[in-house]
Symmetry: C2
């Protein structure tokens, strides 16, 4: 029972039940240990959360790499459509729910949240740059532009305004019609 064998189990519990309300005893049960042992390994609940966020960021990076198709999209709209489909996949939804908790924690400057969120966004940006269509006039700037649009769409979707975002993407020429 090392830290590294604990982190995947803790991640699974947090994906299912959330990060903000997580407490040591349920976390320990999910990981097959006791709260006593979690403190033994991580020292503090806060340190556990920080370690866990770092691990989740690495898992997210690996998931993005795995989802990276080798063929490039033909247009920016195709890039947007591809990544939105990826985010809408049922397998991604527990992660999406967790993501907004991470954003909320980052906005409140809780330890570890900012770094984890920045790591994941930097990873997404790199992925997007690699996905930009060949011959795009401004791949760097375009990737940043698409990331902004994509995250706005994700947020509006989370609060039930997904259709509004879709209409916006259409009006902006960012969805294949």
């Amino acid at each position: 029972m090392t830290k590294d064998s604990l982190l995947p189990l803790l991640t699974a519990h947090v994906l299912a039940h959330g990060l903000g309300g997580a407490s040591l005893r349920p976390l320990a049960k999910a990981a097959g240990t006791s709260d006593r042992m979690l403190i033994y390994h991580f020292g503090t609940k806060e340190a556990l959360i920080v370690d866990l966020l770092g691990y989740i960021a690495k898992v997210y990076a690996a998931a993005l790499d795995a989802a990276m198709g080798s063929e490039r999209a033909a247009t920016r709209a195709d890039v947007v459509a591809r990544i939105l489909a990826h985010g809408d996949a049922p397998a991604m939804q527990p992660f999406m729910r967790l993501w907004w908790e991470i954003v909320a924690g980052a906005a409140r400057d809780l330890p570890g949240y900012q770094i984890a969120a920045q790591t994941m966004m930097a990873e997404l940006l790199g992925w997007l740059e690699g996905q930009m269509p060949a011959g795009d006039p401004d791949p760097q700037g375009g990737a940043r532009y698409l990331m902004t649009v994509i995250e706005g769409t994700a947020m509006l979707t989370a609060v039930g305004h997904g259709d509004t975002a879709q209409q916006g993407l259409l009006a902006g020429g960012l969805l294949p019609s």
Copy 2:
């Protein structure tokens, strides 16, 4: 001591200390009452939160109306610049921090969160529609497009990727250069 006189004080406390970790006794102290009385008035903590979210949505609507300048912007980029400046104002930052908690709650389907978030986004959309430049070819779609971009920028700013979003807006022609 009625509900309506309590809600502004509760809102102030929640803006300062967050919504997720709020518990009855600190809330009561901030409102000058006891936890006993909060339960007396609202019945349940959950009902209190739902009422509070509804009230906060109304406060947000009023704040938007008050911030609505009478003169229209000349370009879409000016609309974006104006509302981003509004969101970056120091007075708005406690609300922004709260906003991400609301989004996280909506993503987890906590009672009241979705409705409050939808109300606020609908209000913002209406405001944007009224702000679109005269002669804009597609005010409805354009407003939805700008809202998506603006919310994406807000999220990236919250996690410390504000500069990335700025570069994206520039590349998308959505910031006055």
